[in-house]
């Protein structure tokens, strides 16, 4: 029966080709605009580190150590802690894994000065590579002993190794970092989160994760004069804020990230941090009530508006556009079906039930929907290409994927069926006798 309906649908399509073209084109445009927006939205709203970031939480508290009444930029506790507090939390080892980190951007070179590159990397205190799942190609991460001894060791990524030394395996070589010479203990594969979630304060305007090309223990880096990208939140009387300064002892500049697996461990860790912060407040170090809060990656990202509002707005617009296309197509289909009342009458008179008529028309609109989907494929590709041409921060996210293709096919089928429901229902309600009279 299904094949017969398909055959009928095909015959009918050939009868009014210009109308069919209008129908499928309208659906195709609606589907393509929706798919374009969905692809970008999907790329930006997934997990930044698949399998890892769902467990990550960032610690926030009001850790200001001086009265700061004249500052309306401060509206709620942020994630920056000074080195003392960050180290205390990380060294307490109360979560499954924990690390304090800050974004840096500095010159890394060969000791002989022949090659150097200004690259982005992370200063960290704790097992950064293991916790974030940064894959190592050669060597090993730094050890707790090296970190405690402030040994000048560094992990660089294979691209930087290639650029500096002409070979990926740079383990054992030295690089100059600030005023120091750091031994390369590991070489990582090129690594970046899918979307930016670490140190968003210093990565404003970046929606997509940026490649991190070196990883270095924070204290060893500071000792060599390498600091975070910006100094962070510094108290009054601190040095004038300047980029890449290592004079951050009066500043809050590190984020503490912890890996916690269950709501119970989150609650327990929250209690631990609150206890720590309250003790600091009681001792007079923190002058304000600490208001400790842990944030998971998704809420942290949305709180910091990492993904611009425009992306959601685009999706809403595209959805509205698709809706309008659907109403449009439904209207045209209704008119088209009702014009063929005579055919229906004969089928009804010959014994077809309402259900049969309904099904037949739904098959027809389903087929039209799929044709629309097929046409939407090149249109979506075109839409994504146009987005990639735009100088927006998320342009690189606009790539067609296999899952997007599957979603497109599904969407077009759903679209075809949804637009058909009303007209098909309307046409199958016609009493046969009435139809015969009309015919």
């Amino acid at each position: 029966m299904f094949r017969y309906y398909l055959d009928l649908a095909w015959r009918r399509c050939r009868q009014g080709p210009s109308m069919v073209l209008l129908l499928v084109l309208t659906m195709a445009i609606g589907i393509a605009s929706c798919m374009t927006a969905l692809t970008i939205f999907g790329a930006l709203s997934g997990e930044p580190l698949p399998g890892i970031s769902p467990y990550l939480h960032v610690v926030t508290m009001d850790a200001r150590q001086a009265v700061d009444a004249n500052n309306n930029d401060y509206d709620k506790p942020d994630a920056y802690l000074n080195l003392t507090d960050a180290k205390a939390l990380v060294d307490a080892q109360r979560a499954r894994q924990q690390v304090a980190l800050a974004q840096s951007y500095t010159l890394v070179g060969r000791p002989d000065g022949k090659q150097s590159d200004q690259v982005q990397g992370l200063l960290a205190h704790g097992p950064l590579l293991a916790m974030l799942g940064v894959p190592l190609r050669h060597g090993r991460p730094w050890t707790a002993e090296e970190q405690a001894a402030q040994a000048p060791v560094v992990v660089i990524d294979s691209e930087l190794a290639q650029k500096l030394f002409g070979t990926e395996d740079a383990v054992g070589r030295s690089v100059s970092l600030g005023s120091g010479s750091f031994r390369v203990v590991g070489v990582s594969a090129p690594w970046k989160p899918r979307t930016q979630f670490l140190d968003v304060q210093r990565n404003q305007g970046n929606v997509l994760g940026q490649p991190e090309q070196f990883f270095v223990p924070a204290q060893a880096a500071l000792a060599a004069g390498v600091g975070p990208l910006t100094a962070g939140e510094c108290g009054k009387g601190a040095a004038v804020v300047s980029f890449q300064s290592a004079e951050v002892d009066k500043c809050r500049w590190l984020e503490v990230w912890v890996a916690l697996d269950t709501p119970a461990t989150v609650a327990a860790y929250d209690r631990f941090v609150a206890g720590y912060a309250d003790a600091q407040h009681a001792a007079g170090r923190f002058v304000y009530p600490p208001q400790v809060a842990l944030y998971g990656v998704p809420s942290w990202m949305s709180m910091n508006h990492v993904v611009p509002d425009d992306v959601g707005l685009n999706l809403a617009l595209a959805g509205a556009f698709l809706l309008l296309c659907l109403v449009n197509v439904a209207g045209l289909l209704a008119a088209r079906f009702l014009r063929r009342q005579a055919d229906v009458t004969i089928r009804r008179a010959l014994g077809a039930s309402r259900r049969d008529v309904f099904a037949q028309h739904l098959v027809e609109t389903g087929v039209l929907g799929l044709i629309g989907g097929a046409l939407a494929l090149p249109l979506t590709w075109l839409g994504l290409w146009i987005v990639r041409m735009q100088p927006v921060a998320y342009a690189d996210a606009a790539h067609f994927s296999v899952s997007a293709f599957a979603a497109l096919l599904l969407l077009s089928l759903v679209v075809g069926l949804v637009v058909g429901i009303l007209p098909a229902w309307r046409v199958c309600r016609q009493p046969p006798a009435m139809q015969i009279k009309l015919g």
Binding site: A69, D73, L317, N328, G331, L332, R339, V392, R426
Partner: protein
Amino acid sequence: MELRPILSTLRRHKLTATLLVLQAALTCAIVCNVVFMIANRLQRISVPTGIAESELSVIPSASIEEGENPQARHAADLAALRGVRGVQSAVAVSYSLPLDRSESSSGICPSKQALDRAMQLNTIEGSGCMQPAVYDGTPGLVGTLGLHLVAGRDFRPEDYVSQGKPAVAIVSRALAQHLYPGKQALGQSMYDGDNYIRIVGIVDRFLRPNLRSPGVDEDSMIWPQLPPGSGVLYVLRTAPGDRARVLQEGSAELLKLNANRLISAARTQTYEEIRAAYFQRDTTMIGLLLASALGLLFVTALGITGLANFWVQQRTRSIGIRRAIGATRGDILRYFQTENFLIVGVGIALGMLLAFLLNAELMQHYELARLPLFYLPMGALVLWGLGQLAVLGPALRAAAVPPVVATRST
């Protein structure tokens, strides 16, 4: 025009007529809001900065020379830059220009009492204190940027400090009014928590590096502080046609003077490029909004034409009969036009309601104001016009149906 036959026909095509009404309503609601968003963004990107935008260019330079006096370096660099042909004047600022995002701001109060009030309230809200953007720079900043001094004077050489805070400042007219509403701001002493700073000049308008909200976007002050760091932005004023050449020759000149510095080629640019970069997202969004508004209208027009075509075909025989019993071509034409006017009219009425609901929804999620009422009659006119345009072809075809059709059977 007799409405009854139209209404009774529509009653027989309830589903299609309803869908058409719905389509007009959705289009009206969405297009009104989209056009409103476009207007908002256009207004945002056309905000004036108060500086001579078309005549300015910048070269960022960060010296990496060890143990160097930054201010001596800047003075030497500026002397070299002023020697480049076409450069009318040049100054150094640390990072900040309007709309270049790197903002330094400072809490500042009209008096010490106001600061005490702010401390008591634990917020500067309602205390009279403000949070202006602070600009520094080498002597000649006001003239080079082309700021319009409306009261007081420019800085004198003795005003400049290289360390610590200066004792005087020039403020924007907006900041002057916000700090001292209804009073003469010139000569007043502002308090920043440690020092008093006297207002010696007021400039007409000077936008912040980062926009916050329209009320405070022009709250800025300049103080005569020489850029303290080794990294600075050299701002060059030239004739618009000289900019590209001066940027190139200026960078070369700086490197010739001392090669031990970083000059970011990407950030060596005209001021207009800085401005365009700041509003990049808005301009992209305007394009997208415009495209979707046009797309919506186009699809709606297609739908109206398509349906009207169907109806004309379906009713060919009855049109013939009407012609045969005396209706003129004009009657038939007006019949279809009136029918469309009615359908779109009902759609518009529904659409206005929807437009407000949609606007309320958007206000919750995005920074959007309430839809002004005048958008509604404009939206109505646009949709009615579109409907008439879309139905014209089919209506003309209907009017061309000869009366003889009535005698044929379908």
